[in-house]
Subunit: 359 residues, 2 copies
């Protein structure tokens, strides 16, 4: 493997000194880019795009051609695992993901197996290998998965949900069943992420999109505990380097302290918590990633720059900050505005990393 030419992202996650704050954007390969829409049209459906390693590589690299980003993230979907479990993932236009065979009862849960990454999700592993080769050491590659709780919500609801009635009904009435389901999914996520590490992923992120719909007690019990279990099962070293892991619970600002004690390296933070508060809550135990409201990208480049400055100042001096949005970039954003963000981070952040300010 070629040497990494830009390791700011990995260094920041390990809370090591950097020259400028590294930046990437969740969903940076996506519909807001015309070149993405062209690749997507070529592929056919969104799933066809995910399942074609060459095209997945192509769209992964597209934002790097436009913007001086400090990391690439595997182009894929969080629902590949349940699909490989036989639930039959499909996307109905304008309605988001759906499963043909949602899991609704004890029989369905007991029947679930743990997919083998190379055998059952080989297209993802191939995509990781292809992207690593094509990246040629420019920036590190982030692999990812959904959290067990988040995957389980889709698996039980059969689609996105507003109230999470099905899975919560099961959680309140049959906690034993939910725990069995989450255990199986956690094992599958562990194998899947270890497969991505073996294939070349240099950092990992676990997206807990729906952990924030739980009460604090149930969050710890049904979401955080299973992310913790995954962390304990991951091979955190590869190619002689630590593979840092970021946890991100959308709406989980209150629980950052608990999350920081899992042994993860970094935490994603959405914009509803200020990074200054987040930093106090984690007491500099872990790095923080975030947290610009993606809607700022609808404003003018001048306003974007002001908001970038505000986020940088909120984190403050010293290492351990990865700049990002607090959620995926929206489809209608002007790519020039994304460029304004990335440039502003690099231009405005050196003052927070000057030698006299290093801890």
């Amino acid at each position: 493997m070629p040497n990494l030419k830009n390791d700011r992202f990995l260094r920041a996650l390990l809370r090591q000194p950097v020259d400028v704050t590294p930046v990437w954007m969740m969903r940076q390969a996506g519909r807001y880019l015309p070149e993405y829409r062209a690749s997507r049209a070529q592929a056919g459906s969104f799933l066809d795009l995910c399942q074609n390693p060459d095209l997945a590589c192509e769209v992964t690299l597209q934002p790097l051609e436009r913007f001086p980003l400090d990391a690439a993230i595997l182009f894929s979907d969080i629902l590949t695992i349940p699909d490989a479990m036989g639930l039959g993932l499909y996307f109905s236009e304008g309605e988001g993901p759906r499963f043909r065979n949602p899991v609704r009862d004890e029989r369905g849960i007991k029947a679930l197996g743990v997919p083998d990454p190379e055998q059952d999700l080989g297209y993802v592993m191939d995509a990781v290998r292809t992207i690593r080769r094509e990246l040629d050491g420019r920036v590190p590659l982030i692999g990812f998965s959904g959290s067990p709780w988040t995957l389980a919500t889709y698996m039980v609801e059969g689609a996105g949900s507003k109230n999470f009635s099905q899975i919560k009904g099961m959680m309140f009435d049959r906690p034993d069943l939910i725990e069995q389901l989450l255990g199986t999914v956690a094992d599958a996520v562990t194998a899947y992420l270890n497969g991505q590490i073996a294939a070349g992923a240099q950092a990992l992120m676990i997206f807990d999109t729906w952990g924030g719909v739980l009460s604090p007690g149930n969050y710890r019990k049904y979401s955080l505990a299973y992310m913790d279990r995954i962390l304990k099962g991951l091979h955190r070293e590869s190619e002689g380097q630590r593979v840092p892991v970021i946890l991100f619970t959308k709406g989980g600002g209150d629980w950052l302290g608990d999350m920081a004690r899992t042994g993860c390296d970094g935490l994603g933070v959405d914009w509803t918590t200020d990074l200054s508060d987040a930093r106090r809550r984690v007491q500099d135990r872990v790095a923080l990633q975030g947290n610009l409201d993606p809607c700022v990208l609808y404003a003018s480049p001048k306003r974007i720059r002001e908001e970038v400055q505000r986020v940088l100042a909120s984190y403050g001096h010293g290492p351990g900050h990865v700049f990002n949005l607090g959620h995926g970039i929206h489809p209608g954003v002007n790519p020039d505005h994304a460029l304004a963000l990335v440039e502003a981070v690099h231009e405005l952040s050196p003052q927070y990393h000057s030698a006299t300010n290093l801890e």
Copy 2:
């Protein structure tokens, strides 16, 4: 006006001693009740139901016939004010509320006027008067409104939203316009709520459904500040009694301390914050209302009782707790389960109000 036979709800909001914890449920008059569905079918559309004071009264009282609730809440919609401003509210089946004429620019915002409650929203005032008469002092009647920020999101987006791109784009790019819009809406809400008080509402609740999508700074600036302005403009005394006001920002658990300093009497709390934490954050300055996850009502009556006990214990001893769900009751809930909740609150709560435990 007849004397109030059950004033637990008002006493709890004023942090005065009570025998048992009062309980009501957000959206307690709603689709989960077959008798509501019958009235709705009789009325025609949802809006027809809201605009018919006799039918609005009928559905307001329905849950009180079934359950020993400690408060009634006016049956209406939060979007009556923008509708009276000329935005043309309608409901497309399965898609939620929409406006024919959303407000998108400076011209639209400058053209907005403040509706006169009796002239432009007389059907709501008539409903309040009718319900007060028919309640005959059984329990107090709660009036309500959406918060300025929440109303503004619908007015600008023209419908419910996932990302709030339109209003946030405007907020980041043209804060002056948003402030003008929020100022007009705040004046309209103040007049509307004062109208409800004059018509007989004995307590008020301001629903800030979408304050939780803002950053902490923008929440204070664009949502909380305008609720504060309303509080300062309300006639808080009527019929010789204080009219307590409850603020509820969904997802606003982090900001309860700030909210408690506005001069409101109570704060709604959703289930993502434990009441024990909430109580610490507000330092017993205000009463707290909440906070059972409405999905608990999908579980068995036995489990519902356990969760009620957990919520009561989380608030702990002493006055100042109004039991409620953390969000509106879901349409698919079995009414017998709602009864189990109400009965459990009354049966399990006396221990938290025993004389030796009064503060």
